[in-house]
Subunit: 192 residues, 2 copies
Amino acid sequence: MQDILFDFIAKYISLTEEEKNAIISLDIFRSVKKGTILLTAGQKSKDSYFVLKGCIRTYYIVDGEEKTTAFYTEMEALTPPCVISKTPSEYYVSCIEDSILTISNTDMGVEVNSKFPKFDIMCRILSEELLAKQQIDFDKFKTSSPEQRYLNLLQNRPDLIQRVPQHQLASYLGIKPQSLSRLRARIFEKKR
Amino acid sequence: MQDILFDFIAKYISLTEEEKNAIISLDIFRSVKKGTILLTAGQKSKDSYFVLKGCIRTYYIVDGEEKTTAFYTEMEALTPPCVISKTPSEYYVSCIEDSILTISNTDMGVEVNSKFPKFDIMCRILSEELLAKQQIDFDKFKTSSPEQRYLNLLQNRPDLIQRVPQHQLASYLGIKPQSLSRLRARIFEKKR
DNA sequence: TGCATTTCTTAACTTAAGTGAACGAATTAT
DNA sequence: ATAATTCGTTCACTTAAGTTAAGAAATGCA
């Protein structure tokens, strides 16, 4: 299971056995039950998450309504904005499948980084890469209609449509569950 | 004018006179006329931009139609995704007011960074900060209606509404110019 | 300055998303 | 296992955005 993490890291830097052991000894691997809330709005946190198996989601509660903004699945990492800005979190992070995650806090990061400067380099590359990816996703979202967004998702992350509840998907696409149902029916009509 | 850049940098690291001079000697300050296209879709580039004065915008051309995705004004920095990913640009960057920018390429960055490691630190902080900001903006966009987005803009960046053409604003809000006109009229009606 | 082009607004009509309600299906709790 | 809740879909109706077209205003250019 840990190999998933090391495969991920290997895309950015190469690790010695010693370094791998240092990571394992940090004891950051966690098994988390479906439904667990990892972070609550208003809470302060220094934790970052990396998904080895399963799925976590981020959502806001606006006027008593959940607004899902992202899903993170295998090989994806989340550092909530509140960790960077050191302010209370604006959103919730919950686990929507039984999952295996690494949960690591900033302090540990600093400690490891001072021992292994390589890590600093990886973090830098990672956050630049994520920034670029995020920008492109944002642009794509802005320039698409809900229907196009759904079709894109079908292309790029078909697994999400299977594993995520429809009402969360709807909110992720920026529409209501009823509209998603309708939209799906519409697409299905067109196809035949 | 250069002081704007140094004020910006001062928020992250402190510079000696020597370091300031090193930056000035890079000769990265550019005066750019309104309408100038700084980056074209399909083009490769290593240039990053920092706005000292004026405004630049990023846009895609989809089915012959401009889709504006961002505006950068005083004290804002843009590193296009194509610079990070080293692939041809997917979008255009154009200058929508007579502006003063710094235009610096990655190679220069590497050179300066090796001389002044401080810069590396700043870049790291900057890209983490930007990532967090970007995430929050994206979430806000996703969870808002066009009307709410316009009202948000009115709150947070009232200057943009004044200085940017309406049809570019509309596209930035994810709607057509006609819808923006209507939406504005609607809001105006409500107010009185 | 005057002409041409682009931009902004308004209007009528079309299309798609929001809303409220209903109902069966699926999931969760007891 | 059964009751209770949550979830997904459908429907009728409302509201807002897309579309097409036209005219007025602003801008750029010669």
